[in-house]
């Protein structure tokens, strides 16, 4: 970690969850502000300008997804959603609303810390990571500027669309991108319904990049949600 201790805004109405998060985050070098309601969260986000927001969806006064949408109107601060709603459509909804990541309760501390690190890294890099020329993770090296890809030091030829796909995931390494987000970015708006095209291209891409395409290590599937390029954080 660089700079001063990062400030986390924890939005959670359960006192026990807050107690646990407070203990765990302060022990790992974070500073905390806590909000118990959506209204309070909005005020604190404005006054304290936190570096990352940890948001529980089930708030007493408003829905967390709605809060995410409101926050996104004025800030790019990373939002990590924490929720007991484990259904895929809930995840997709939160991510499409602008959340950066999604954690389903119950979760382990390591997983939480890994997600926070990814979120902070993206935030410090300036969100999209467009200025980053090269992304390296687990034997994969993507040169975004020169459009070149190496796996274990060996150059791999990709088609234009495969490169756009991989480039997008690489710029957001560690972050889940929903099908809709990927289709919008790679194919442009209007293709959002054709997820099977995306899947077919993803399978092709895996054959070129993964050592065992049946058991991917790099291009990870979040079933029913989207894809994520592993950045070596929080993986088993």
């Amino acid at each position: 970690m660089t700079g001063p201790e990062p400030l986390v805004l924890v939005v959670e109405d359960e006192p026990q969850m807050r107690r646990f998060l407070r203990a765990c985050l302060t022990a790992h070098g974070y500073r905390l502000v806590e909000a118990g309601s959506a209204r309070e969260a909005g005020q604190l986000a404005l006054s304290h300008n936190p570096e990352v927001i940890l948001l529980d969806l089930g708030l007493p006064d408003a829905d967390g997804i709605e809060l995410t949408r409101r926050l996104r109107e004025w800030t790019r601060v990373p939002v990590v959603v924490v929720s007991a709603r484990g259904r895929e459509e809930d995840k997709v909804q939160a991510l499409d609303a602008g959340a950066d990541d999604y954690l389903t309760k119950p979760f382990g501390v390591n997983e939480l810390l890994a997600r926070l690190r990814v979120a902070l890294r993206h935030a410090r890099r300036g969100g999209t990571g467009a200025d980053l020329p090269v992304v390296e993770t687990g034997g994969l090296r993507v040169d975004l500027e020169r459009r070149l890809v190496w796996v274990e030091g060996r150059e791999v030829k990709l088609t234009a669309i495969e490169f756009r796909l991989l480039g997008l995931l690489a710029r957001n390494a560690g972050k889940v991108l929903t099908h809709r987000q990927i289709l919008n970015e790679v194919w442009g708006p209007g293709h959002a319904a054709q997820t099977h095209h995306l899947r077919v291209h993803m399978a092709e891409l895996r054959k070129k990049i993964e050592a065992d395409p049946a058991r991917p290590r790099l291009l990870l599937t979040e079933l029913g949600v989207g894809y994520r390029l592993s950045d070596g954080e929080g993986e088993p």
Partner: protein, 898 residues
Amino acid sequence: MATPAERPDPDALLRRVQAEERQARGGRLKIFFGFAPGVGKTYRMLQVARELVTHGLDAVVGAVETHGRYDTASLLLGLDLLPRRTLPYRGRVLEEFDLDAALARRPALLLLDEMAHTNAPGSRHAKRWQDALELLDAGIDVHTTLNVQHVESLNDVVEQITHVQVRETVPDSVLERADEVELVDIAPEELLQRLKDGKVYLPEQAARAIEHFFQRGNLLALRELALRRMAQRVDADVRAFREEKGVEATWPAAERILVCVGSSPGAARLVRAAARMAAGLRAPWVTATVEQTGRAPLGDLDRERLDAHLRLADSLGAETARLAGATVADAILAYARKHNVTRIVIGKPGRSRWRELLRGSVLDEVVRGSGDIEVHVISGEPEPEREPRAAGPVRAGWWSYAWAALLVAATTGLAVVASGLAGVPDPQMLYLLAIMLAAIWFGRGPSVLAAALSVAAYDFFLVPPPYTFAVADARYVLTFAMMFGVGLLVSSLALRLRRAEQSSVLREERTAALHTLGRELGSALHLEAVAAVAAGRGAVTLGTAVAVLVPEGQGLAVRGVSPSDYALGGAELAVARWTLEHGRLAGSGTDTLPGSAVTCAPLRLGSQTLGVLALRPRQPGALPTDQRDFLLAFARQVAFALERVRLGEQARQSALRARTEELRSALLSSVSHDLRTPIAAILGAATTLRGEAALGEKTRRDLLDAVCEEAERLERQVSNLLDMTRLESGTVSPKREWVPLEEIVGTALGRVERLLGRGAVTTSIAAGFPLLSVDPALLEQLLVNLLENAARHAGGAGVEIRAEQEGGSLVIEVADHGPGIPPGEEERIFERFQRGANAGGGGAGLGLPIARAIAEVHGGRLSASNRPGGGAVFRITLPAAEPPPPAPAELEPAGGAP
């Protein structure tokens, strides 16, 4: 308190309670009763209504005729008027009371003038009093008006007094149903004055008849009649009161009246007389008709008339009985004895004397055999001397006369040959044979012709002198007479035989049809089968298109139909709904909704209507009583079958409920065990950690590991339970997407990696295995559950996933090298809370049931078996779907090529 002697008669009490119940259920009927038009019934009804409205009652005028009378019309001001329904009829537009609007509006009180009114064609009911009954059934109070000449049982008396025939009548049972009858009475003189002043409305077409009606003598008689009818009613009210209060200690012996009717027009008089007698004696009464065995079935006209008499009796509150017997008197007397009849009402014979001598008189026989039963003889109207005409096949065409003549000619030839050549002494016997054959083959007319021709031919050809009509010997004249007489007698006997055969054939056909129906229904095990049998049999037996409808949700569903192209339109379904709601016949051929293109019979058992039998009417006009009875008998048998099926279904349901209950308790015990155990472990470890300061580092670690592991186990149980509940609730519809199997297998392996270890699973997916149309998250769960199962039972070693296409289905197999499934347990392992013998802790026995449920929501199957080399194999079969539009090899990205 009360001594036994003072206690009210239980039957009377029951009647009283029933009457009260009916009143609590239905609306109250009040009738404003008058003796002639113009006495002020409508005026009085409106007055009463206005008063009630000022007290806040919701009263609505359904139909009131003011006939332009100013004082009556002024009373209507301020009352709520229900808009009339307009009915197009032969180019004119008729306005009629709108029953449906009234039922929808549901006022507390509805005013309905002129209860005897006949509704315009196209209305639901033929008569307005039927509308009133339906309103009462719906719990709406009705006020209505009625004149004495419209009372059914008084109809003929009024006719005698005034010589005006009134066709619009109201059954006495309706009058008796009224909760209150108010007599509106003025002096006849005053009424005549009002008539002179033009205050009484007279329909123009009836003006002449009505002039005759409004004579002082008539009015006095009518008034007396109305007052007497009213007095009867007051008497009944008093009696009801006395019965309720237990005033009377003894009760008169029960009287029971039987009236015999036939098809003659005068029988209506008998029925009315019996009704009056029954009302006077407060006795139940029966109307009986006898079908004589060996007599021809009645002709159409007679049957219609007989039906009309029975309907009349029914509307006057009689039971009706159709008897069968060799003679009328025997059948009547047998019935009377069996049913404790005390009085028999019978008509004065209208037959001429010689026929009575010939055939005997029913009256005489009844009187002779009546014993202690009183016999009342009522004069019928002069009966037209006309034998009931036989039905259908007996009517002869010209050809049968020709055949009869031919038959006689042939007989003559034979007779000439026989007497001339063989010297047969009595050739006339041959003629008798010919006459009899003519009667059997061709009917009455031809047989009479044959008799006449036989006499002539015998005279001409055989009686000396031959070939002249002259008769040498006067003795032959006697032979002629004998021959003719015997011929007629034989022919009439033959005819009777034939008719008896016809009617018994008809009866037997119907009995056989019901028998067949019963047998076929007996083997129908569910509702669809019963409906199909009923429709099929119905179409054959009733000779028309038939549909069986049963209530479903809010409406009616057609469950059986024959022939299969018979469809019911909206109007027909409305008739069926009416029948279902009211449990009565409706539609074409009945009194209710007669204009519709369907006849509906209720499938009714007791007070419950289980469905409707709808049939396309075969001929227009009222349904003859025998067909109607047969239809109802048919419907009753179907209703029995429906009820049986329904009870069977109920038994099955309750068995299912019991099974569900059993499962629920298994679930509860299993859940409480599986959830509490990890909680106990967590709680125990945590409290130890908090309380004991002097724990070694290793113990601390162990306890913390236990907390984490048990929490994870708890989480697995909870999500299993949630998944199971979600799948079982039936609300899960898979969100299908096109996914390559590789992707799902990849994530599933990722999830079980910790359990199975890396590299323990080999995957072989056949080349060209298509994209799956599945809910990816659910299918992943399925695979994870199977893999976890393999890990638990087979140690996870050598697990294989294979996938290939087999014809129209996609097969995915998960196989292991474990101990396999105990023989015979292949299905049981998919039941909930069944844990294998060597289960190493963990799951709540929900993994495999969830896996199967997921396969099933995708329209697929999941089965288990043992593989030949040892180990278990789970086989998922999914239907192959239409492939998606192929992904283009390379879609041009929005931003252009590099």
